[in-house]
């Protein structure tokens, strides 16, 4: 069921390449996020789907129809902007009904649809207000309703939450997901916030410098990043510089101690130095014993963060940190005390190597 | 897209034409003083006329006094309003806008009526009349001067600067002359140049109070009987206006995109 297909899309502005070789197949009802730092081409791609930019090469097919060069006002896709972009001269109800009026829908039906939309976003009482009388969060909900009122084939959201306060952001995030699920609408969501992308999406597209780094479910993206960039951009990491002792067995050495990485290391020779990433939440404290992947270290700092406690430890010159959940019976390690930490070999992500 | 850009260029063309043609015509006209050839004779005659220099100097003096009084009047007021009397802000802003409501011709009418007899017979003496004219110019410049200085004050957070100065032991005089004025340099100067541009060629008030002693009425008199000289005077005052506006833009590094003082 390929509903929205982008094939070999690229876009250049003058000499700069904004997007290159972008390929994706989106299914009907799917929620896909484009995630990446600013300037990675995610917004440009979204704007090409909306029709505000024309691709330099490639093809966009929506519901079996080639829309690559269709003008934006004939695409029937809904767009929500970062700055809300509500028309300040129109009331909330008029804003929501704008697309329907343009389509010359009978007045009664417009009223009906506007009412539906207002209750969808829980702003039934606000139809007669003007945008400047609403808070940022309310304005963005109206913008969402306005985009949905035309029953678009695809809903496009361009960083819709980044102008809002942290608390409203989380609230509206779940609201967007609820509405999307309720309507079953195919949605493309552009963001630079990994938490948003991971929590909302069915699939995430991680982009960097105009190229797709990885496409996958949030679970895959987080746990099995395929490139160093994805690993470091999504979530937090400890990065260890380790020497390869036995490439076939995946045996590595760090400051004189040894541990095993996820798989037999390919394209690496014994004696190479590699960067190994380990997520902080995977590391645990152990009492002792002789299992694999145990490292002895010294506690450097203990930071109480509320629900979790972040512990920073030192192995000679290497610093790394890990988190444990807080509970009242927890015995926190003392600063300077020797501790042993453990992480499973599958948790090691090899980022890059330097050959000496 | 291409069509709309063509349309844009069309309007720019019309605007440029409207702007340039009268200047060209005036310049060309000013060169025709000697029959048969183009020459700068009209300019020579203007520059040789002692009355030109006298009236120009007189108006320049008026302008300088206007600037000094405006600055001394408005800077402390705007500063004090921000610091201690924010409740008066609306009232002061309203007053500074009044010169828009009361045209110069009406203002000078009122000034003459009030100050031409007892108890304040200013128009009886040379000094009194000149002072009255300067006062009128300060009123004319009020909206522009106040706006410029108020924007300048908003940009430097005078409250914190004052607190800092006070904590270091400064008195009010030190604060005003060592802190506020220097930090408002650009705002004061750009307001001053605009005032200069307004006052130098001002005609309405000057013609009723001091007559042809001032530059505006002098130009008007030349216009009545010397055609070519009047064209050269128009070019000279245009260059003068351009210079003042250019100085403002130089000072503000183009941040102040438009300066307007209105018609006369």
């Amino acid at each position: 069921m390929n509903f929205l297909t982008l094939t070999n899309i690229s876009k250049t502005f003058g000499n700069t390449v904004a997007v290159k070789d972008f390929n994706i197949v989106v299914e009907k009802g799917e929620f896909v996020s484009f995630l990446g730092p600013s300037g990675c081409g995610k917004t440009t791609t979204l704007r090409m789907i909306a029709g505000f930019e024309l691709p330099t090469t490639g093809q966009i097919v929506l519901d079996g129809e080639d829309i690559t060069f269709t003008p934006p006002n004939r695409r029937n896709v809904g767009m929500v902007f970062q700055s809300y972009a509500l028309f300040p001269n129109l009331t909330v109800a008029q804003n929501i009904g704008f697309g329907l009026r343009v389509r010359k829908m009978p007045v009664q039906e417009i009223d009906q649809r506007v009412k539906e939309m207002l209750s969808l976003i829980h702003l039934q009482q606000f139809g007669h207000r003007y945008p400047y009388q609403l808070s940022g969060g309310q304005q963005q909900r109206v913008a969402l309703a306005r985009a949905l009122a035309i029953r678009p084939r695809v809903l496009l959201l361009d960083e819709p939450l980044s102008a809002l306060d942290a608390k409203i952001r989380v609230e509206l995030r779940s609201e967007i997901r609820r509405i999307q699920q309720q309507l079953g609408i195919t949605t493309i969501y552009v963001t630079h916030d990994q938490e948003e992308a991971l929590s909302l999406s069915d699939r995430v597209v991680v982009m960097k410098d105009g190229l797709i780094e990885q496409i996958g479910t949030p679970f895959e993206i987080y746990n099995f990043p395929q490139t160093p960039f994805v690993a470091s951009f999504v979530g937090t990491l400890n990065v260890l510089r380790a020497k390869v002792l036995d490439a076939d067995k995946g045996l590595l050495s760090l400051e004189g101690q040894t541990f095993y990485s996820s798989e037999p290391l390919k394209q690496v020779r014994n004696g190479d130095v590699v960067s190994v990433a380990v997520r902080p939440e995977i590391i645990t404290l152990v009492g002792g014993g002789a299992e694999l992947n145990q490292l002895n270290c010294r506690v450097e700092t203990v930071t109480f963060l509320g629900s979790i406690v972040r512990i920073q430890v030192r192995i000679a010159e290497t610093m790394l940190f890990f988190d444990t959940f807080n509970n009242p019976h927890l015995v926190l390690p003392q600063v300077g005390a020797p501790v042993t930490i453990y992480f499973p070999r599958e948790a090691c992500l090899i980022l890059e190597l330097t050959r000496e | 897209m291409r069509k709309s850009r063509l349309w844009s260029w069309f309007w720019i063309f019309i605007g440029t034409l409207y702007f340039v043609v009268p200047l060209l015509a005036t310049f060309e006209f000013s060169l025709r003083a000697r029959k048969g050839t183009l020459s700068f004779l009209a300019y020579e005659r203007v520059f040789k006329d002692p009355a030109f220099w006298k009236s120009f100097g007189f108006s320049l003096e008026l302008a300088v006094f206007t600037v000094i009084i405006s600055v001394l009047l408005i800077v402390p007021t705007a500063y004090w309003i921000r610091l201690r009397l924010p409740q008066l802000r609306g009232a002061v802003e309203f007053i500074t806008m009044l010169p828009f409501v009361i045209p110069a011709i009406v203002l000078v009418f009122g000034l003459i009526r009030v100050f031409s007899g007892p108890p304040l017979p200013l128009t009886d003496t040379y000094f009194g009349t000149t002072a009255l004219l300067v006062a009128g110019y300060v009123v004319l410049a009020l909206p522009y001067m106040y706006r410029s200085i108020d924007i300048g004050l908003a940009a430097i957070d005078v409250r914190t600067l004052t607190e800092a100065a006070q904590s270091l032991g400064a008195g009010w005089g030190t604060i005003l002359f060592k802190i506020v004025f220097p930090n408002l340099r650009v705002a004061i100067l750009s307001g001053s140049f605009l005032t200069l541009a307004i006052v130098m060629g001002e005609f309405t008030m000057a013609s009723f109070l001091v007559g042809i002693k001032a530059f505006g009425p002098y130009m008007s008199l030349i216009g009545q009987n010397k055609t070519y000289e009047s064209s050269s005077l128009a070019i000279i005052s245009f260059i003068l206006t351009w210079a003042f506006i250019g100085l403002i833009q130089l000072l503000t590094r183009g941040r102040a995109e438009g300066q307007m003082a209105g018609a006369r």
């Binding site: - | 009122g110 005609f203 505006g216 245009f238 018609a263």
Partner: protein, 304 residues
């Protein structure tokens, strides 16, 4: 609500603690005394004196006769000509200024055109009065360059057609020289305030460019455009020097009438002169109030 009040209180306290709490509050007021004294003497007193004078007859008694006198044909005519010329130049200047400003903001022209236009507008809106009149005499006068060129190139004799630079339309063309640049200066910020996203949102919802302009852009700009044109109206309504230098007082404008009244009491009734001035101030006050009302409205919209 109470939170807001607390905050207000807090900031107020901060203001007071800045210096020693003054034991003599009137000293605080002394700081603005020079300003209020100056404006009392040189704005309020003259205005009040004209107002009082307009209600007095030659013997100094109260009368409404002066305002009734405003209805004499020559006075009504002066107001009418002034209003007409202000409306005409506000409309034409407003339109030309708007299109110019549109060209440099949304019209896709290079940045230097915008910079050049704004600089020129600053200069031209300040280039008024006596020299402007000279410039237009040299341009459109009987021997002016444009008059001569039109005759030479197209065989069009402006003066034979009834045109004169000293007439209503001549003065209108002259006023336009400072009117349309003023429009450019006033309306450009409003056009800058039109967000690109509004256009995109409208297109996204299915609107054509035309519908976007009719239902979104123009309604948003209307208060700004009207406000700017009102400003232009006032700008030309109060102008005196340009008109006097150009027409030598032949054109019966209200400012010219007041001017000759100041010089020589041509109305044979000083009270009537004061009434003329008061009438002018009333018209200016109404237009200025309207301008501020519209500006506040457009600011509310364009800041969102």
């Amino acid at each position: 609500m109470s939170n807001k009040a607390d905050m207000k209180k807090a900031s107020h306290n901060r203001g007071v603690s800045l210096t020693r709490p003054s034991k003599t509050p009137w000293l605080t007021w002394l700081g603005v005394a020079p300003f209020f004294a100056f404006t009392l003497f040189f704005i309020f007193l003259p205005s009040a004196s004209l107002l009082v004078g307009s209600f007095q007859n030659n013997a100094g008694q109260f009368t409404l006769q002066n305002f009734i006198g405003l209805l004499t044909p020559s006075v009504v005519n002066a107001y009418w000509v002034s209003i007409r010329i202000s409306v005409v130049t506000a409309l034409l200047g407003g339109l030309l200024g708007f299109f110019l400003s549109y060209a440099v903001t949304l019209g896709g022209l290079p940045q230097w055109v915008r910079a050049a236009l704004l600089t020129f507008s600053s200069v031209a809106s300040n280039f008024a009065g006596v020299p402007l009149a000279f410039a237009f005499i040299a341009t459109l006068g009987r021997t002016g360059m444009v008059t001569a060129l039109l005759k030479a190139w197209f065989g069009l004799d402006l003066y034979a057609q009834g045109f004169s630079v000293y007439s209503f339309w001549g003065l209108s063309l002259t006023y336009l020289y400072f009117q349309f640049p003023l429009m450019v200066l006033v309306i450009t910020p409003a056009l800058d305030g039109l967000k690109r996203e509004w256009r995109e949102a409208a297109e996204n919802l299915g609107a054509s460019g035309q519908i976007y302009w009719l239902r979104v852009a123009l309604p948003i700009l209307t208060p700004s455009i009207l406000g700017a044109m009102i400003l232009l109206f006032g700008n030309s309504f109060g102008a005196y020097a340009t008109a006097l230098s150009l027409t030598g007082g032949f054109l019966n404008l209200i400012t010219i009438l007041i001017g000759s009244q100041i010089k020589g009491d041509v109305l044979l009734n000083p009270g009537l002169g004061y009434a003329l001035a008061v009438g002018m101030v009333i018209i200016m006050a109404v237009t200025t109030a309207l301008y501020y009302f519209l500006r506040r409205r457009s600011e509310r919209w364009l800041r969102i």
